[in-house]
Amino acid sequence: MINTGITYKETPNKPEEIERILHPIVKKWFFSRFKEFSLPQRFGVMEIHSRKNILVSAPTGATKTLTAFLSILNELIDSADKGILQDRTYCIYVSPLRALSNDIEKNLVEPLREMEAIAGKKLGIRVGVRTGDTTPAEKTRMLKKPPHILITTPESLAIVLSSIKFIDHLKEADWLIIDEIHALAENKRGVHLSLSVERLHRLCPHLTRVGLSATVAPLEEIAKFLVGHEDGQPRDCSIIDVQFIKDMDLQVICPVPDLINTPYEEAYRKRYEIIDDLIQQHRTTLIFTNTRAATERVVDYLRNHFPKNYTEPVDIEDEPDPAPAGKTRAIGAHHGSLSKEHRFRIEEGLRQGKLKAVVTSTSLELGIDIGYIDLVICIGSPKSVARFLQRAGRAGHRLHETVKARIIVTNQDDLVECAILQKNAVEKKIDRIHIPKNALDVLAQQIYGIAIAAPIHRDDLFRLVTSSHCYADLPYHDFLEVLRYLSGEYASLESRHIYAKIWVDEETGMIGRRGKMARVIYMTNIGTIPDETRVRVKIGDRLIGTLDEGFLERLHRGDVFVLGGASYEFRFSRGMTIQVVASAGRPPTIPAWFSEMLPLSFDLAQDIGKFRKLMDAKLKAEEPEEEIVRFIHSYLRVDDNGAKAIHGYFREQYDYAKIPNHRRIIIEHYRDEGRYYCIFHSLYGRRVNDCLSRAVAYAFSRLEHRDVEVGISDNGFYLASPKSVSVKGAMKVLKAEKLDLLMEFAIDRSEVLRRRFRHCATRSLMILRNYKGRTKRVGRQQISSQILINALKRISKDFSILKEARREVLEDLMDIDHTREIIQAIDDRKIQTREISTTIPSPFAFHLILQGHTDLLRMEDRMDFLRRMHSMIQAKISLEKGKQKMKRRK
């Protein structure tokens, strides 16, 4: 066979071709349910039938799942009808979602039932679900009678692959379907899955892979992620791109014409009036916010201010006869912090049309069927075009319905961002996702699993690993480093037996598992999703809610934060509980949403930069206002309010300071009550700014021998200090080729590295969550991350887990690659830097300073930190003593 690599399938098959291959039962069933083949089906069914790998990218509700299953059901029915159906698994379907039963019932079990009815006999095709919730009894049953179609999650697939008995049933599997592949490719769950798939492929060399994806880019990368590599080349895959088959009705809404001078309360009220109007004009509305806290705020506001329009969704499932479609007034929230039961009730309510509106953060972005939605509202920017289209795709969840979505903007920066986002969505410019590469922690976990299944030769193992797209260019020495870790080489010879997870026979090159407990340890500690530690928030004995543990570290006595819609003042913490008092009316000193903030995509940020450049040219050319507003109208397709607000915003920035763009970083100096700020207008998204700001700050603090505080946002970052900040020197020493080394130092003692290290150590199984029958809660682990880091550093600075923690911080959390490009471009003068001074922050700097306040870091080492804290506390104490003396004298 000639290797053709990744190709696009440009023309669909003729319906007759597909009809010809369908078994009469399947054909009859299909046309009893549908009038004709959908476009994805006309593209995909024949490919799967002829065992070709395909990636289908289509919006939600575009019959993707049936496209994947139609050929497969067809073959199973054919075999069953002929009586040659074997007792083995033919198809494995992997989905990132655990609660699948509803979708599977609808897409598989029900069709099979109907086909049996048409056939007039039992066909005996079994569908089995295996997830973390599957009981041992069900597993045993599956072992005896394997399901013909196995439905599973990435984690359970890895477990199945290490179960010697079950593997036998998989050996001749024909198809693998990966659903929601776009959501997996961008994180370590997907990396983990990519290795499982290669393990599966080793078992069944004839496996055909089918990937189902929502709107995403670049499709070639996702295709490679799906099919992997062989002999240094991507395996064949044809891409079916039907991302834009639905009509789209998208609109950005700016609630008021002047976002700057309209009082906050008024803008807020206006925003909700618009939201209420929209909800009332539609049958069922799905509202996306960007944080969990905001989700609750929106529900609360609507219920309190429009009590006639909204009720709580209490007992929706008990309602004897559901309100007629569109007449219900129930509104509810759906997000990750809410209980499983609550979320399930909301999903059920949506499916049954018992809810008028649901407000969610990210939890309803993915897959599961949520019934009829005729409008999606996003409050604030979804931060990437792909995410916006995924959210919007929840509306009109049927093939021929129009997608209708509205973005309500919250401030000027948001307005510009959303307008460009919408423009790109309409112009089909999707921003690219980042696929993590060479993750050594996931690799360690999977190698352990492979060794548990059977001994393997080192060369075979390396070939298997590098056939995954996520490890295609894995350096051999990194691979060896992971083997060294797993074989316990870091421990002294006499205690190695405790640490070693595998043995490596240097003479034969063979690798195998070590220890009687290996299988149990592996099965109970598998996975890549870090445990989130939540601390309980209480007033006395009354539980208010929970907070992320990382958030606790930011709190000082007296800090005010918002939880579940109310403000609380932090008193003290004890163990995993913090005590607070209600603090009505005081504005929060710390926003609770910091860690959840979605980063603006780099591609979208670039396009905002380009728009800024266009606007700058128009203002410079002194074009008349109406002309510019008209331009904004046609270029960005925003409403009247929006075009005017954007014009006003740029005009103010232009008159007062300078307009930065993607090719020109404005560095703005200003002073506020004895604090010096140096603001970088570097609109590249917070993943780049996180990295760039730390690099500049680190270079600065090394040169000047003093600390500097850093605040970051999507639109830029600032350095702040009690003394004036000159960054000329720092910018000069910043070199693209030295960035890696610089950043290694810059993040060395950061809180973010410590947290990520702990996750990496857990994925690498150096820290076991479940061991000898004990489940460990993260908060109870007795050893600090820093001490563990120090211990590993003593062994080697590049110990695989340390190296991975740094990689994850720099490449996945931050974006060091694009940062390097930008630094290079500054060096090559392709990006200019211009310094200006202002007396009050320029309009573009305003939100940057407001939002940037949330992340501050200092560059000093541990002992400098100690000394500074010491003098700070001494100063406070002597000040107070002085005051007391004065009082006594009086």
Partner: protein
């Protein structure tokens, strides 16, 4: 820095000049093994680090005739493992080359210490008195008439938080018990971070209200941070 006249803090140890005594506490040898039992596979380095650190402390102290380990020499209550046996042997042999006397105070973790000590011919005491000083572990209040009581057991440390950064430093505490001076030593175990004195309950019956206790942080130079009560008001 002197915590009391003639009592000098050197790193995590306390040197009593007049008596030629160096005292440390809570070495918790074998702690790595207990971590392993909990599923945390930290590589064993503890002993090597401990010896290096002791060597450095001895180099900075004056004449040392006696070294006292003020309780919880080993970590595990329930057994003596091979590696603990090996580590204790290394420690005792090392100290044997450095000083004339080694004195062990029994801690609550030291159920199995007596047979080991016997094997190496090291004396073990519930409490030990010399000059003005009384050494006990601190898990129980043992009677003494000495002016200065020195205990371990608490693993005191001070957690400093600033703008999202958090660092924990081991510290000494100085206060009073009845009318005697009381000094609490930090843990000498380098894998243990210590317990934040501002946020954690006291363990020892010798410590009741510690708000008047002074905090000496063991940095590269000891630093007096003031009283616990004041620190709590400012940073708790």
């Amino acid at each position: 820095m002197d915590i009391l006249p003639g009592l000098r803090i050197i790193d995590l140890a306390l040197y009593i000049e007049k008596e030629h005594i160096l005292v440390i506490a809570d070495t918790h040898i074998g702690y790595e093994a207990s971590l392993q039992k909990q599923g945390i596979m930290v590589p064993g380095q503890q002993m090597q680090l401990t010896l290096a650190r002791l060597e450095n402390i001895l180099a900075h102290a004056g004449t040392v005739e006696t070294i006292i380990i003020d309780g919880d020499i080993k970590d595990d209550f329930s057994e003596i493992t091979d590696s603990e046996w090996r580590d204790l042997k290394r420690l005792f042999e090392f100290l044997d080359t450095k000083v004339n006397n080694l004195i062990l105070i029994k801690g609550n973790h030291d159920t199995f210490l007596p047979p080991i000590a016997k094997k190496f011919d090291v004396p073990v005491f519930e409490k030990y008195e010399q000059g003005n000083y009384c050494f006990m572990h601190g898990d129980r209040a043992l009677p003494t008439k000495k002016k200065v009581i020195i205990i371990g057991h608490e693993h005191p440390a001070l957690t400093l938080r600033d703008n999202g950064r958090k660092e924990t430093f081991k510290c000494f505490l100085k206060g009073t018990y009845k009318k005697q001076n009381l000094i609490v030593l930090p843990s000498f175990n380098l894998l243990m971070e210590g317990q934040d004195i501002l946020r954690r309950e006291r363990l020892s019956p010798l410590l009741d209200d510690i708000s008047d206790f002074e905090v000496f942080v063991a940095g590269d130079q000891p630093l007096l941070f003031g009283k616990v009560g004041e620190l709590k008001r400012r940073m708790g």
